[in-house]
Amino acid sequence: MSISAPERPVREYFPTADEYQGLLDRRTRRSRLFEMACLVALMIAVIALATLLYTIINDSFGLVAVVNERDPEAIVSDLGYDPATVELVDAEFDELVGLLETTVASGVGRRLEREQRFYEDRLVFESDEVWDEICSSDAPPGGCTAGPRDHANLYALVVERVVVQDVIAAYDLVPSLVNPEAFDAEIAAGIEAGRFGDYTADQIEVEWRAWFNLSFIRSPQSATPEVAGIRTAILGSAWLVLITVVFAVPVGVGAAIYLVEYAKPTRLNSFIQTNINNLAGVPSIIYGMLGLAVLVRIFEPFTSGAIFTTGVPPAENGRTVLSAGLTLGLLTLPVVIISAQEALRAVPDSLRHAGLALGATRWQTVRSQILPVALPGILTGTILAMARAIGETAPLILVGAASFITSDPTGPFSKFTALPIQIFQWTSFPQVEFQKLAAAASIALLLLLLTLNAAAVILRNKYSRRA
């Protein structure tokens, strides 16, 4: 029997060399296309981040058209300085108070003084008798208890009340750099169309403005965008983080130690573990509701500070820094626990066995052997949890931070505002100036987060070298 050739030619089963090359090329091409698509997807994430940062920076600087009722340079020269070298912000405290005294109506002055006084030891607008009378009334205004205004606060008042600066139009950074003439043209067209009311071209000054600047960071919140700042909000956020850390770190690390070092695999303990994982997935706004219903409402005597004082409580209800801080504490607790657990689990068992074999109790082993080794991991996790707490907005809205506050928080029972709340409020206002403020506040918030993350990296490196 001889081997016969297949009935059909080979090429019906196998491709010819050319066809084979074609198929191979097609597969290679498809593979390359796919790689490109994947890279493009990754680039989109990068572009998104870049666009976000660009938008914020673009909105924080640029040309503005302002109308000053009184020229700051004229005021400076009236005060006897050379306007070329001295700016209004450099003027003495007494001079600024003097400007206010000569400009604002006495009724307005009295109101400002009642909000917050100018000097510790004397009154400017109010007479001593009236002052004593209103301060001994049932509802004394803030000026009776708060400390005197500082220079930044006073300067903001002068700009608001004496200079009376009004930003009537604002431009973004890039168009301001690329095509500043267009802004002038826009202003001219606006005057033509009567969009700026009675202002004439002579009154309108076009100048550069950095919305994110030192006085923005140092000034308190204000309803006037030209002078509004974020000091109140930064201090509020600082208080929040402080309370969150004081609550969440000991409790979170404690729970992690219990679960990793002590807990036997009982059903209760595995339930605790599952529960922590579940809590980590609960939306932050639901923690806000927990804070509102439990901390603000049920624990009101505690969170408003009423049980700590005999007289009038520092805050009339529970919507305080303390409530909000504890809410954020509960929110970050699962994150702290999970990261601390990971750090503890990474500690080799040999350390535990060695400690116990030497006769140390479990707590002695944990305290002197395991915790020091796990510390960098715990610290890193904690700082990252704090970074999350700083940026949270929704729970703060729920526990009542959204109200307009111009005075700095003074303690855990103060009413407060926070950086993300400021950004939220300003973003939701339609005027363009507030958009600029929101962008500038976003820069501040991102810088704060960057600092925290850098701290986490530095701490991790420092401790891991020592270990």
């Binding site: 796919f34 989109i44 981040l49 130690i257 809590l279 706004i285 976003s442």
Partner: protein, 323 residues
């Protein structure tokens, strides 16, 4: 002699008996308390959502059936149907997933299958920064960049200032890093032997990625998608700022489906948006508004809990396959 020995032995025995250490117990008790506090948190959430929702449904103006079936959310006239708010939430989530799922997955495939260590070293921190940016900043971004962009492309007469598309796209950007990092973990967990075998059979990189690695990691990837969905459903700030404060009430069968009900360029308040707007400022206790946010919170909690459980189930299946 014997008596002296006896005394020694007693002393040694005494030293060897376990010393009582009250401190140990106190520490243990405190640590246990810390762990138990997490359960108290859960109980607190369930209790407060439950009781306030109960009060909400006790109100004469509200019925459970109406709550679940009515397609109007108009508290002013006493109509409390959650459908418009759920529509807002899920529409935004759907747009976000359409944006984020392909981008996140492809990015994960690149990072896990193609990227060199140096390329990874550049892209990973970028994604981590994106995760760390507060959502309120994304909300600002939606209003000042995405909404004007959409209005520029499609025209201001078509696209409302507050619209679902802008909110959905920005929420999508927000969850891309979440999907890519979870999917990348899943892809990297696929054993290399599978890839090697496929290469040995002559498969190209594309074929290995799409026909071997991705199917093998499918349950892990699905878990990532579901977690991202849950995150999008619970997302508050972008939604509150960009998609408006009016619920998209609709008359089923009467309103045009794509003209109104599913129009991406109209605003639609989401569940979280309603809660945030209603609760801002000093909301009075024991009003129907106050109770209604808890009923919505309960709905939100149930949805996210279901999604998170689903994702854990996927993860479990994935672990069984490879560990």
């Amino acid at each position: 002699m014997t008596t002296e020995n006896q005394v020694d032995r007693d002393q040694i025995a005494m030293k060897l008996t376990k010393r009582r250490r009250p401190g140990e117990r106190v520490v243990r008790g405190f640590l246990y308390f810390c762990g138990a506090l997490t359960i108290a948190t859960t109980i607190g959430i369930l209790y407060e959502l439950g009781t306030e929702s109960f009060l909400f449904f006790q109100d004469d103006r509200v019925g459970v059936v109406e709550f679940l079936t009515d397609t109007f959310w108009q508290p002013q006239v006493g109509r409390f149907g959650i459908a418009p708010l759920i529509l807002g939430t899920f529409y935004i989530t759907a747009i976000a997933m359409v944006v984020a799922a392909p981008i996140g997955l492809l990015a994960a495939i690149y990072l896990s299958e193609y990227a060199s260590e140096r390329v990874r070293g550049f892209f990973k921190p970028v994604l981590e920064i994106l995760v760390g940016i507060p959502t309120v900043v994304f909300g600002f971004f939606a209003l000042t960049f995405m909404t004007p962009l959409l209005r520029g492309i499609f025209g201001t007469s078509v696209v409302n200032f507050f619209n679902v598309a802008s909110a959905g796209i920005v929420v999508g950007l927000l969850i891309i890093p979440l999907i890519s990092s979870l999917a990348e973990d899943a892809l990297r967990a696929v054993p290399d032997s599978l890839r090697q075998a496929a290469y040995a059979l002559g498969a190209s990189k594309f074929e290995v990625s799409t026909r071997i690695v991705v199917p093998a990691a499918l349950s892990g990837i699905a878990a990532g998608f579901v977690v991202a969905m849950s995150r999008a459903v619970g997302e508050t700030m972008v939604v509150t700022l960009a998609s408006g404060a009016s619920p998209r009430n609709f008359e089923p069968g009467v309103d045009p489906l794509f003209g109104h009900i599913l129009n991406p360029f109209e605003g639609a308040q989401a569940m979280t948006g309603y809660v945030a707007i209603t609760a801002s400022g000093d909301i009075a206790y024991n009003t129907i508004d106050y109770n209604s946010i808890f009923a919505i919170g309960l709905t939100l909690f149930i949805i996210t809990f279901a999604l998170n459980s689903l994702s854990r189930r996927f993860v479990k299946r994935f672990r069984q396959e490879y560990e």
